[in-house]
Symmetry: C3
Subunit: 139 residues, 3 copies
């Protein structure tokens, strides 16, 4: 049994989903761990993780449109707006999705389903650098 | 320290919650791991996981009714509808719940609270086979 | 590789977010594990976990206000109300947030980002004792 931990950075250019499946897969490969789990963790409170449909981009268009309506920027009762209209909305959208995701590894590979990709969900309008940590545990 | 990974399949017959606690507990028992964690992972993008109240079925009725209203099938701005009205809704309901869940193990047993059960949340109308992976790590 | 598991209790006094970062950090420190992961798990179905902005209390005010509106107590179609108007709402708010959260450990410390804190999100009006388990795995 061993543990291998590594981080990587993604540059975002506004609200959208950014695929990071290959970044995570590369760290799993490098770890040489054949059976175990990979924990993906995002170190931010205005960006989050989702495992999502990776085949048809229109699914992500709907996802992003849904969150714009579920947690709208013009919500009149928000008080935490010092950093702009996307301040509280970004934190709440993060809470409704995930900070950590754990994916099984078998035969040295992430056991994602055929249509599953791992995405960073950016909730801020302006460009950001986002740091993700991958911790691989197994043998 | 050791790792034990196994998968199982659930046949679903439409939108609903399907309890899988016993399926997960059996794999934990078989692993013979006494202290550690069990990661449950669902390999799909239109079904998800929830840990939910297991005593009174009416709680699950309300859960399912709530999601029907939060992400309605007749949402007019959805564009990802090639597989039907439950296409984008199923992906978004999955994002709002979970793909992975990690449960501590002590004394060889899942440390669920008294009222906690593990459920597969099916978001599709038609019957499906759903594959879940359980990765047990510990000693 | 080793595993260290411990639980702690939080007394809540109504609907709110309660920070537990220090409780988790103390268990990680006690485990003496330098590299690995800490799984935090809440053993209840009417309280949940969130990783959230820890700097400005107003962000949590907005979070709590948002959930009051997203899953309102006066929802007329709820049938699971035997324990009061906060019965079904508490379970659904739990499903929309998290039961488990996994945080990487490096150099013997939780790898939370600068603005991330771990919070118990209480969804019940009345005082409760809530039990959380922390499972640390690594070397």
């Amino acid at each position: 049994m061993q543990v291998h931990s590594e981080s990587f950075e993604i540059r975002t250019t506004g609200k959208a989903t950014y695929e990071v499946t290959d970044n995570v897969a590369r760290i799993v490969h490098k770890s040489a761990i054949k059976t175990g789990t990979a924990t993906v963790f995002v170190q931010h409170t205005s960006a989050s993780l989702v495992i999502f449909e990776n085949a048809d981009h229109s699914a992500r268009v709907d996802l992003e449109a849904f969150f714009e309506r579920l947690v709208p920027e013009d919500t009149d009762y928000f008080v935490h707006t010092s950093e702009g209209a996307d301040d509280s909305t970004s934190h709440i959208r993060m809470v409704l999705t995930r900070s950590s995701e754990v994916i099984p590894i078998a035969d040295g590979r992430l056991q994602l389903g055929t249509w599953q990709g791992i995405y960073l969900f950016e909730h801020r309008r302006s460009p950001h650098r986002r740091r993700l940590i991958v911790s691989v545990i197994g043998e």
